[in-house]
Symmetry: C2
Subunit: 148 residues, 2 copies
């Protein structure tokens, strides 16, 4: 049956991505953020002071997409861009008070979605799923990086 074919991996990924975005969008609406920004904010909580280019590389995101996501975060008051005087091409990114105050909320939103979609998986299966996802993501990265 189609839904059990190997080819349907792509369908599950697509569905999870779309549904995840719907959920995140709804949760973030009251904070004037959307699914297109949270990854950038999350990575800044881990590494304040990154440049846009570094973030784009870490997230494997287009630099144009990154520029616009950061612009939105700045516009909404979560991030400040500071030109790096040692190399004036670079803009380093810093979190505002508003962003720091929001960190635990973002974490709980992200975890709540994970809990929804893994609710009936054993801890073992959750860890296994995470490992497999990471592995196939790395394969995808490797492949497309080589193409460029």
């Amino acid at each position: 049956m189609f839904t059990d074919n190997k080819e349907s991996i792509g369908r599950w990924i697509s569905l999870l991505h779309r549904y995840g975005n719907v959920y995140i969008n709804e949760q973030l609406k009251e904070y004037s953020l959307g699914a297109g920004q949270y990854q950038f904010l999350a990575i800044l909580y881990q590494n304040e002071g990154l440049s846009q280019d570094e973030i784009a590389c870490l997230l494997k995101m287009d630099k144009g997409t990154t520029a616009r996501a950061i612009a939105k975060l700045e516009k909404e008051g979560y991030v400040v861009r500071k030109v790096f005087n040692v190399d004036k091409r670079i803009k380093k990114l810093y979190l505002t008070e508003k962003a720091h105050a929001f960190e635990s909320k973002l974490t709980s939103i992200l975890l709540s979605w994970i809990n929804i979609i893994t609710k009936d998986l054993s801890v073992n299966d959750q860890e296994y799923a995470l490992r497999l996802l990471k592995k196939i993501s790395l394969n995808a990265e490797d492949y497309l990086d080589k193409m460029k």
Copy 2:
């Protein structure tokens, strides 16, 4: 470390979705199709004669998105829309010769991506990954369906 946190499941899903789309887009370019259409075509290979609404439900896709994807498939000559005379609101979808001639090609494109991303997984792990993905997708569906 951030990249090993539970929260990063969303990042892997996002990355797989984006990179998968880049790959599929590149492969489909010469056929005048994109990542936004292949799922609709794939499901029609399994069930010719479905209506747009049925497809939208099966793929858990918005009906507007479905309308536009089918319009593109029709414009490019892969699909024909026929008003269902028993209920003139419904348009049933049929594949053209061009679509039939393309089926094996599409299958091989989709499989080649799966093979790229699962290249170092054992058959066991591949099946396990598929089962887990399906399970968490169903959880996502259940949750958002209940919200509406």
